[in-house]
């Protein structure tokens, strides 16, 4: 077996590992609200979320994969070293921010990694301005849309709630939360797994393993969704142990409003081919629901950390990827 093929296999495995870690990290977002409202046990919730992470492989398109694969940098300059550097940049930045507790986005880290490695490899001309602008704008737009949609939905549900007995309403929302959690996991699965699909597809395309036209093979789709679902399952088991200590109690209607509005925001971005942070979008949804009760009750420290993450993630992961590319290129 030649070394080039071995390197491609290693990078594909690294990309799937990145996807697994993404599911592992984000498992809490997928199950937190439904567990805190006691609709499902932690174990049931984790299996529910992982199932819909995987189901998202079917029928939700590959617009985000196309954006990552050929919408951020020119495919003509992509090679194994560039993708390796981009993944290392994203993974290193994710680990650093995980250690210091910043809620960063793996998606933005991956885009920063691609940009940093491409800048060192071929200069600024190979950066596709339109793709970077759309993605950068949605870093802010997506959580804000989660916030706005959650506010309107929570207010509408409050009006509805006032007309029916609280016990009846709570029972209805407990069942509806099964749907909203499933929708959120679908959105998380499709938007996040597609980033890995895009990275693997562009690597295969530029190394001549994909034929003459850029596309995402079915095995790439299935393995990316399987990796994120497995990550959710693995992360979820860890959450099972700590759930009792960490989760704040939410009303079922609040959980439903936050999840449904975030799911809609993520699915909208997915359909228009824009990679977004699922973590920051549901944070926007939860802040929106909290704001309808009392604005001062919102934990603004979380919101401030998100803003810090917005500013830092792309430049920092780009810097790590740039240094990595410079080192790998000399080997």
């Amino acid at each position: 077996m030649d070394w080039e093929l071995l390197l491609v296999i290693f990078i594909v495995a690294l990309a799937l590992g990145f996807d697994f870690i993404n599911g592992f990290h984000d498992a809490a977002n997928s199950v937190a609200t439904i567990v805190s409202t006691r609709v499902l046990t932690p174990t049931q919730a984790v299996i529910w979320a992982a199932f819909f992470n995987f189901v998202a492989a079917f029928g939700l398109g590959i617009h985000v994969a196309n954006t990552i694969g050929k919408g951020i940098i020119e495919t003509s300059i992509v090679d194994e070293k560039l993708i390796l550097a981009a993944l290392v940049g994203a993974i290193v930045w994710d680990i650093i921010t995980w250690r210091v507790g910043l809620p960063t986005s793996s998606s933005h880290a991956l885009i920063g990694g691609l940009i940093g490695a491409a800048l060192v490899s071929a200069g600024p001309d190979v950066i596709i301005k339109e793709g970077v602008e759309r993605t950068s704008a949605f870093i802010v737009i997506s959580p804000m849309v989660g916030f706005i949609a959650a506010v309107f939905l929570a207010l509408a549900l409050m009006r509805l709630y006032a007309r029916i007995a609280p016990s009846t309403a709570q029972g209805v929302f407990r069942r509806l939360q099964l749907l909203s959690a499933a929708a959120y996991s679908l959105g998380h699965g499709t938007n996040d797994a597609q980033k890995t699909m895009g990275i693997i597809a562009v690597l295969l395309f530029t190394t001549g393993h994909l034929g003459g036209e850029f596309h995402v093979p079915i095995w790439v789709m299935l393995s990316a969704h399987a990796a994120i679902a497995a990550g959710t399952l693995a992360g979820g088991w860890r959450i099972v142990r700590t759930m009792g200590l960490r989760i704040t109690k939410l009303e079922p209607s609040d959980g439903f409003a936050a999840e449904a509005s975030s799911a809609a925001a993520i699915l909208f971005a997915t359909q228009v081919g824009i990679p977004v942070s699922t973590t920051q979008t549901i944070a926007g949804g939860i802040i929106g629901v909290g704001s309808t009760k009392r604005l001062s009750a919102v934990r603004w420290g979380v919101a401030i950390n998100i803003v810090i993450a917005w500013v830092l993630t792309i430049p920092a992961s780009a810097a790590v990827a740039a240094v990595t590319f410079a080192i790998v290129d000399k080997l």
Binding site: A137, M144, F147, A156, A260, S261, V272, L295
Partner: protein, 45 residues
């Protein structure tokens, strides 16, 4: 109820995105900030 609230919001977003990235950016941020201001007024009374 959720569909009644969320569907118009996302149709509006699609229209704004088609109109231009700058337009959707300014519209969403302005709406979010205004909504935050109104909620602050209403919930701190």
């Amino acid at each position: 109820m959720a569909a009644l609230v969320l569907t118009p919001i996302f149709f509006a977003l699609k229209l704004l995105l088609d109109a231009g990235l700058g337009i959707i950016f300014v519209a969403v941020i302005t709406t979010g900030l205004l909504l935050g201001y109104v909620l602050r007024q209403e919930t701190t009374r």
